[in-house]
């Protein structure tokens, strides 16, 4: 399984980001930020019988005294389906090989956070654990926000550390899994953030974040294999029907990865359009695996009638391939790094959807949302290695409740 380093429902960071908004900071101190509970259920489903995930989320947050705010966050993912494992060759053409539809996994994440509001900003800490039958992650985050310039400017600094363990399991039946000895490994991830949020005028603001992440250890995927048609002079693979195990090597990636992000976020209110709000985000990403990516997102928050708000959104994403990625390899690599993971390929993706929400009696907010995503080889801004066999779509349906006390 791939080692993705962004966790779900990291509400500490997001809450801190919202609270860091100039004009929002006094909410903690002056209003006391009422105790509240957020719950959501989402169903994620991929095309062509691939993965399906039911996601249950719940967050409870409460002020303690004038300056403290605590929260507890829980997420459960129930995963089932099949996933690409490798590529074979059939009559010289690559074909996708998937796991049997036997993946059954449950991920549980719990994290606890606390924020302290001082006169010129907030300090937040968050600790948590995420566990699956083949992955555990223990993490710790610190986040600080400082208001300057009459609270028209907010500076942010953050640090995060995660210690993860990854391994592979086999399905032993009856919901039991057996760990494959020697598979996977440990990894550590260090994250840092510097950011600035600036009020541009009474209707708009801009945020810029720079983040740097360093990962080290086992950064590959213990379930994926790469086809190397000519792995060594001693082993000859028939390129017409290269299915013999000797043609395959385990997914292998460098043991270090440095990732950089520049994120720009713009929010503007349109008073003349019934207080509609435009959100526009642009993110540039680059890492030392030679992957670069651009992400464009826009959302429009439109109050429509009697407290109902409609929020359509669109997204475009483009990435270049990792330097050790190919759908399959014609020759052996001197560094021994191979990946045919579709997430390491060159591709583009478009997405979009809408959310409809309404607040009742200033206490209960209900929302329903739908989100679609389409991944296409060749839709990226850069043209690099990849295969249309990896094209897929997914949809996400969500209902959520927020209750303030």
């Amino acid at each position: 399984m791939a080692a993705t380093k962004t966790g779900p429902a990291r509400l500490a960071a997001f809450t801190a980001a919202a609270l860091a908004l100039p004009g929002m900071v006094p909410r903690v101190q002056a209003e006391g930020l009422d105790p509240e509970i957020d719950t959501a259920f989402s169903r994620y489903e991929e095309s062509d019988g691939r993965m399906r995930v039911d996601v249950y989320q719940a967050v409870a947050a409460s002020p303690v005294g004038d300056r403290w705010n605590i929260k507890a966050n829980g997420v459960k993912d129930v995963v089932s389906g099949a996933s690409p494992v490798a590529y074979g060759l059939s009559r010289g053409q690559p074909v996708q090989i998937r796991s049997r539809a036997s993946i059954r996994d449950v991920r549980d994440e719990v994290d606890l956070g606390a924020s302290y509001a001082f006169d010129q900003g907030t300090l937040s800490v968050d600790v948590g654990r995420s566990s699956e039958n083949d992955y555990t992650s223990d993490f710790f985050n610190l986040d600080g926000r400082w208001d300057i310039n009459d609270k028209l400017t907010t500076l942010a600094a953050g640090f995060g550390f995660a210690s993860d363990q990854v391994w592979a399991v086999t399905n032993a039946g009856k919901g039991q899994h057996q760990r494959i000895p020697g598979s996977g490994g440990d990894k550590s991830t260090f994250q840092s953030l510097l950011g600035i949020t600036q009020v541009l005028d009474k209707n708009s603001l801009l945020q810029a974040n720079l983040t740097y992440t360093h990962g080290e250890g086992y950064l590959a995927d213990p379930y994926k294999y790469a086809l190397v048609v000519d792995p060594s002079p001693a082993v000859v693979c028939d390129p017409e029907y290269a299915y013999t195990l000797s043609c395959y090597t385990l997914d292998s990636r460098p043991s270090n990865r440095d990732q950089f992000n520049l994120l720009l976020r713009y929010v503007r209110d349109f008073p003349e359009l019934n207080a509609a709000a435009l959100h526009f985000d642009y993110r540039f990403y680059a890492d030392t695996w030679d992957i670069s990516a651009h992400t464009f997102e826009a959302a429009w928050h439109q109050p429509v009638y009697a407290g109902w708000v409609l929020v359509p959104h669109v997204r475009y994403y483009s990435q270049s391939a990792a330097e050790f990625y190919q759908p399959y390899f014609q020759t052996a690599r001197s560094d021994g790094h191979y990946s045919t993971d579709y997430r390491m390929a060159d591709f583009g993706a478009v997405g979009g959807g809408a959310q409809l929400h309404k607040e009742f009696l200033d206490r209960l907010r209900v929302a329903a949302a739908v989100d679609f995503y389409k991944r296409e080889q060749g839709m990226g801004m850069q043209q690099g290695p990849g295969t249309a066999l990896d094209n897929f779509t997914y949809s996400v349906f969500t209902v959520s409740l927020n209750l303030k006390f």
Partner: protein
């Protein structure tokens, strides 16, 4: 690594260089305090979207520091 990164990193500075941003008095910040003006008006929804995208793409992060890795298929 892409050589455009250093240039893009300078973008915020360029955007703000020479800017004479108007002062917005506290009593003029009512609009900025509205829920829809928060950077993430719906934290759970935003977190799920980013988590889902990050599990299918090579790029991740940028919005804040946060741990909790996953073995996303």
């Amino acid at each position: 690594m892409n050589s455009t990164l250093p240039a893009l990193a300078l973008l915020p500075a360029l955007l703000c260089s020479g800017c004479a941003l108007p002062k917005v008095a506290p009593w003029e910040r009512g609009t900025l305090a509205k829920p829809q003006m928060a950077l993430d008006p719906d934290g759970l929804d935003a977190a799920l979207k980013r988590h889902t995208a990050a599990s299918k793409e090579a790029a991740s992060g940028g919005y804040g520091v946060g741990g909790g890795g996953c073995g996303c298929n």
